[in-house]
Amino acid sequence: MINKYPLWKYILLALVLACGVLFALPNLYGDHPAVQLSPRSGDISPDLEAAVSETLNSGGVTDFSFRSSDNRLLVILPDGETQAKAHGLIDLAHGDRNTSALNLVPATPAWLRQFAKPISLGLDLRGGVHFLMEVDMESAITSAEERYVDEFRTQLRENKVRFRSPSYDAERGVTVRFADVLQRDNAQSLLRQEYRDLVFEATQDAKEFYLHARLSDEARETERRSALQQNIITLRNRVNELGVAEPIIQQQGRERILVQLPGVQDTAQAKEILGATATLEYRMVYGTYNDWADAAQSGRVPPNAKLYTNREDGGPVLLDRKVIVTGDQIKDASSGIDTQSGSPAVFISLDGAGAKRMQRVSADNIGNPMAVVFIENRVTSREVDGKIVRDRERVEEVINIATIRDVLSHRFQTTGLETEEARDLSLLLRAGALKAPVEIVEERTVGPSLGQDNIDRGRLSVMIGLALVLVFMAFYYRVFGVIADCALVANLVLIMAVLSALPTTLTLPGIAGIVLTVGMAVDANVLIFERIREELRSGSAVQAAINSGYEKAFSTIADANITTLIAAVVLFVFGTGPIKGFAVTLSIGIVTSMFTAIFGTRAIVNWLYGGKRGLKALPI
């Protein structure tokens, strides 16, 4: 029994510790305030650095440096005050082509930045907003099915099938009515061939024959998936428009989207922009003022028209059923002031298809009135008798009616909105429309002062807890206690290193997990040392006592840690947000503590006491 470790074990230990120190090191450096610039589209311009340099110099900011990464330019500034000033200057001068945001960049020296990053902090530690948004899948499917009403009408008309006006309801899908069975069967075989995504069903009653069409199950699933993906893309665009540094936008589950915006304080604006479904539609006006009043009074709307409310006077307006251009075809939008009337306006650019259509329709209708419809969807849920009820509200208002004087093509303007509405609408049109309305089902906002407070308190409690344990162990187990203390400190360094290297974020419960592992990590050493003492008491020789102390304690330590690890893994898999953070640090702590408390302390013990034959007692 000589208790010697071969050289390679010491080398391994030294390597692991060196890596640990290297990866944990960036956390010792603080942050620099910075302004982040990223291009609204395409790649960042190579001249931007020089241009920003000039802007700042002429604005009186001289102390700054640049760093660029991932298609963005970071302007690093000495303090928060200069950061705010620089942000104002940069936004004014370069805000048209780039979005700018306040950010913090690690102050790690360049050589270290190549290997390691500091731990990324969760929102509860750095401040910011967290939203969980649920996509209203039913509306996504409804609007997908509704599109077929117009398509069926065109399709059947072109093929000279006689039918009565198709309609849509959420219960049965698209319904087309027919006077005789032959026409219905014709229509069915025709449509079935044309639309393979649909499931058709034929019914009849005493008077008429019906053909119902719904999306097939696979098509529904595809629709759901694409609605979610489309919404994530749109949300990402909107967040970019808002100018947020390092946002997180990701799918969570089948119909939810998680959005985290660090550092954002104005939650009201963020929420309005993210959840908004506002878009525009252009339609021709149908009939005259008298027709509108008649339709509103009798409730009988002509088959080719749709009844709307006018925002200005609340009165009825009839518009053509056919849409000229929808929000999807808007390529770019900006807000400003109409030079003629002096009222707020949205300047619109259409894409190719939209422009072509607008050109054709306006050429045919010079002298006729055209209307702009503002559409907004809202969804809210509430609990009624333990069940979740979802209220949907769709607002469609005519905001503007103007006579077409010229042929319109890809660029024109729309008035009739308030200044703020015009600004938000242009942002929304730029970023694209949400395919299905979203509802915020969870929202957490943490102010920056609270975040800093949480970090400070977390750090302090780790320090004090650690100090108490270190002192106690050294007191109670003497030299062996000091060895265990070294292992404990090494364990903390390793936890920090793993957290820095993994793509996880540290949250407040995560800090609690670290604190808990500090307490539990000594358990392995306590088990081993108690065993060694026991062996010494029962008369074993020193070297034999060390050896059997480590060996006998191992299976106990392994069993105890594996069961705790099981609990941590279950927490990780089934828990959400804060619980996950706790599970991550707890699991990491269990694994690293096994390494330092068994392997690490054994290496030191062997080095100090191993091989010494004359040893009569141990300082334990």
């Binding site: 649920e134 949480n454 007191f475 609690a512 997990g513 808990l516 307490g519 299976s555 105890a560 089934f574």
Partner: protein, 314 residues
Amino acid sequence: MARLKQLVEARYDIMGYRRPAMFLSIALMVISVIALALRGLNFGIDFTGGYVVEAGFEQPADLGEIRSSLAENGFDDAVVQFFGTQSEVMVRLAPREGLSGADINTQVNGVLAGAGQGPVDLRRVEFVGPQVGEELREQGGLSVLLALGAIVIYIWLRFEKKFSVGAVAALIHDVVITLGVFAISQIEFDLSVLAALLAVIGYSLNDTIVVFDRIRENFLTLRKSNTVDTINVSINQTLSRTIITSFTTLLVLLALFFIGGEAIKSFSMALIIGVVVGTYSSIYVASSSVISLGLQREDMLPVEKEGSELDEIP
């Protein structure tokens, strides 16, 4: 220090007190179950859905005034309380019909700013929709049950059926009593407390396994003594370790409780209760139930192979 060493190394007839201990455990569990049935847990908005606003004022705030201004503005169900210091206030609201999170946010902010308490700094605003709350409740319960299930299977494989029954009895004991303390004290039960509860399961198990490991070892080496004596010797041998580990863990948890801030107070509270109860239960619940289940030396024999295999690893 020398006296502490003496204390933890002494031999006690621990199992001799197992009947009174069992009555104590049963009494505590009955009280906990009654408290849970009558008062229930004070669920936080993570589980119920609703709004929480945490606001800081520049000087100590007058809760009565804040309450009455909230009530004037239609928030008469608001729960208003101090959070940490006298100048920090937490407002809790139930989910509302027809109002989105944003609406509540601006309204409550307006009310707090106009409540005559000086400028207000909204430090934290949380909104959890009713559907999310319900899911978290289900998920939370599910994860506790799954963790228990996975642990039972592991102990069954590593030890023996009677041990796994004993370990689970101890776990249920710990969870029920910890929940009971939360029901009696009405401290808010939120997601972080649920995490703490799962950590308690892990910790208590850790303790139980250390004792069981020694019992198994002693059954194989002390061939002459009976079951109760063997278990008594095992508990005595591990007693010093049990006390010292619990002590160091408690040191850290107390630091967390007193310094860690209001946000993790209930979390560390749950862990402190859990560690104390878990230490006790690994001796008096887990080991006593193994005796009550009639564990024999013969039960232990087939496991010997598996244990020795693992011993080779270091």
